[in-house]
């Protein structure tokens, strides 16, 4: 082989490419081809950041052919919002933001109160309203089947009815690689390109691809308090009893919802390699740090039926 040819090709073949990555790229392309108004639901968390990278790969050298949408509870970590805005700017993407606060102000949802109050489940109303406002027919999200039992049964293309609801007993079978995105007007499809990835797969990919993620995923000093064996952020948005003592500790987040529904873990892992190692060694599941799932064993299934992501 001549030297010029060696220089021209940067890879001999594609056999070493992660099969999960090939699958996700395939799914993104199916969405772009089968739907008129797709949107990528972007939370600023590691899973949705990974989705953005995969979408870039799916359509290169063209731009990602759909906008991102963030349903902002207003209680997000400032680091996440800052990161979101920078990413969108750098990639020249369109970002739509819809606020839970507006849904509250319009009287559509009522703010929860008390010890376990969170805006997490209120997001559903804001999301469904936004889907209707923009007539989105496909909403892509970073949910993974390994996260939670109800999600383990979720399809890659998951049809939602006019009310945005999931009928888990009446799901379309998905055979081979074929994705059926045919829907009626008013229905929409939730799409999960990284359905088959595990938490470790995502972290390993972030490491291998050198994808930038918000700083809260790495160990940092934070004011926290302990409740029910979980580490809560001390913040104006999080209800705290007077006798719940504020401590300052080295922590990081494994999963990022908003402040009221995400618990931290004690950690010294300050770079991606040590985070990946920590995940490998970990004996607690990712959603074990999700306060919203602790409500009941069927918590996620119920929320999904109502239209939650």
């Amino acid at each position: 082989m001549s030297l010029t040819l060696e220089l021209e090709f940067s890879m001999k073949d594609t056999s070493h490419i992660n099969p999960l990555e090939n699958e996700a790229i395939y799914i993104f392309r199916e969405v772009a081809a089968q739907f008129e108004r797709p949107v990528l639901l972007f939370s600023g968390g590691k899973d949705s950041i990974t989705l953005v990278r995969l979408a870039q790969k799916a359509f290169w050298p063209a731009k990602i052919p759909f906008p991102l949408m963030h349903i902002d509870t207003g209680h997000n970590f400032p680091e996440t919002i800052e990161f979101r805005d920078r990413l969108v700017e750098e990639l020249g993407l369109e970002l739509i933001v819809r606020n839970v606060q507006d849904s509250i102000d319009q009287g559509k949802v009522k703010e929860e109160s008390g010890r376990y109050s969170s805006r997490n489940s209120l997001q559903t109303t804001t999301l469904l309203d936004a889907i209707e406002e923009f007539k989105f027919d496909a909403c892509m999200g970073g949910a993974r089947r390994d996260e939670e039992k109800a999600r383990a049964k979720e399809r890659i293309f998951s049809v939602r009815d006019d009310f945005g609801q999931w009928d888990e007993k009446n799901q379309r079978p998905e055979l081979f690689d074929m994705l059926n995105g045919q829907i009626e007007l008013g229905q929409n499809v939730r799409v999960f390109p990284i359905s088959n990835w595990t938490e470790l797969d995502v972290w390993s990919y972030i490491e291998a691809e050198e994808i930038e993620i918000p700083s809260i995923y790495f160990a940092h000093k934070r004011k926290i308090f302990l409740r029910d064996g979980l580490i809560w952020s001390h913040s104006d948005f999080v209800y705290q009893e007077d006798d719940e003592e504020v401590l300052e500790r080295m922590v990081r987040f494994r999963t990022v919802g908003d402040m009221s529904c995400t618990a931290a873990v004690f950690s010294e892992a300050s770079d991606i390699a040590s985070v990946v190692q920590e995940i490998r060694d970990s004996t607690i599941s990712e959603r074990g740090a999700r306060i919203d799932d602790k409500r009941s064993e069927a918590a996620m299934e119920k929320r999904k039926q109502q239209g939650y992501f």
Partner: protein, 415 residues
């Protein structure tokens, strides 16, 4: 990274969920909080052992009834591979779920209760895995602890199963028998001391040893065009890339190709994975291909190598797995999705129903009901480019979509 998808099939109480739970437990894939939840629930239900099945049964209805209704996906990994288990229910009324789970899997585990041996459901589980042409099948003879780890019992079941194997259509399927106790952990991940007469591998060892050649059949490359990428930017003004996944074989720069249906010839100019140029697109990789010539090619069209054309036809016969409560009958019309290509299909005739337990065919059937398997002939509004399912798992399969409900109502394997 290697990913292996495995379909599991078993009857009620064969211990399928327990087996999966056991694999997760012994590979240390169960996290503390999940294990605690299992311990708590097992105790609440009054068991004196850990009910690992609770690790997989996800929906409320399933927990109530103690059965698996839908296809659940379970994930675990070893240092060598990432595994995805498609856990499907074994009842006859869930044949469609079994077909679905098997369609995306490269290996399968069939469970047999050592006390009951080969039963009617075993025939069906084997039939489906064979129909779907899963290359590697493990027959796990479970509950060996309840038959005193008897070698005679194991051999008797193996003999019965081997009789069944003579009836299979796909003879090249690799079948391995393993005596296990999912509840006690024998030969699942760790070698059992209770079966000194068994010299084979444990279940996990077998899966770990599976190589690409053990799970994929060698076929010919097919490249269905999913999406046309035209950036229209200053930098890539004339770029016109065909995005898709390569199936069955590999394609390389310089390959002479034919575009279908136009039958126009060209040569592969470049292959991209993201922004990297590659010489060869390996099978199952999602790439973007550019051609030497400007030819008309859009979604649903296909690139194939010259001298290697698929069948191009408006008529064909296929084995159908029916998945809807509304029946399939002659004269009915459906959307037929073949890969990423969609056409209209009319049922020309229902030729015969196939008993999924090797008990024969029934030619007197007019209407297919949910979970039926049958040979059906179709007529299309325009030709598709297909291979026989036995030659090409991807290019020989399709789904049927109901034109009114938009549901996926059937799967087809072209004969």
């Amino acid at each position: 990274m290697e990913v292996l998808k495995i379909a599991t099939a078993g009857s009620v109480d064969d211990g399928k969920s327990t087996l999966i739970g056991r694999i997760l437990y012994d590979t240390k894939s169960l996290t503390t909080d999940k294990l605690e939840a299992i311990e708590k629930t097992s105790k609440k239900n009054g068991y004196d052992y850990l009910d690992f099945s609770l690790a997989t049964d996800g929906l409320v209805a399933e927990r109530e009834q103690g059965i698996t209704i839908d296809v659940a996906h379970i994930y675990f990994s070893t240092a060598k591979k990432s595994y995805i288990i498609a856990d499907t229910p074994g009842h006859v009324e869930y044949t469609r779920n079994m077909v679905t789970g098997a369609s995306t899997s490269q290996a399968a585990i069939i469970l047999i209760d050592a006390r009951k041996g080969v039963i009617e459901q075993t025939n069906r589980h084997f039939f489906i895995n064979n129909l779907l042409r899963i290359k590697d099948v493990v027959v796990a003879i479970n509950k060996m602890d309840l038959v005193d780890f008897s070698e005679e019992k194991y051999n008797a079941i193996k003999n019965d199963f081997e009789k069944l194997m003579k009836k299979r259509e796909y003879q090249e399927q690799n079948i391995t028998f393993i005596p296990v106790s999912a509840l006690k952990g024998d030969n699942v991940v760790h070698k059992s001391e209770n079966t000194p007469w068994y010299s084979g591998t444990t279940l996990l060892e077998h899966l770990e040893d599976l190589d690409r050649k053990d799970i994929y059949n060698v076929g010919t490359p097919r490249f269905p065009v999913q999406y046309v990428i035209r950036p229209k930017t200053a930098e890539h003004h004339d770029f016109r890339g065909f995005a898709g996944k390569v199936y069955g074989g590999e394609l390389s720069v310089g390959d002479e190709v034919v575009a279908l249906p136009s039958q126009t010839r060209s040569k592969i100019k470049e292959i991209f994975f993201y922004d990297k140029k590659c010489e060869t697109a390996s099978r199952r990789s999602s790439v973007t291909i550019t051609l030497e010539d400007e030819i008309n090619l859009s979604r649903g069209d296909m690139l194939v190598k010259v001298n290697d054309l698929p069948a191009i036809d408006k008529r064909f016969t296929a084995t159908i797995s029916w998945m809807d409560s509304v029946g399939l009958a002659a004269g009915k019309k459906y959307v037929l999705q073949h890969g990423v290509n969609k056409v209209l299909a009319k049922v020309a005739s229902v030729d015969h129903k196939i008993a999924p337990d090797y008990s024969g065919v029934d030619t007197g059937v007019q209407v297919l009901g949910m979970n039926d398997i049958a040979q059906v002939s179709f007529q299309l509004n325009r030709p598709i480019f297909f291979d026989k399912f036995k030659d090409h798992r991807t290019n020989g399969s399709f789904i049927l979509i109901d034109t009114q409900t938009n549901s996926t109502v059937g799967a087809g394997f072209i004969s």
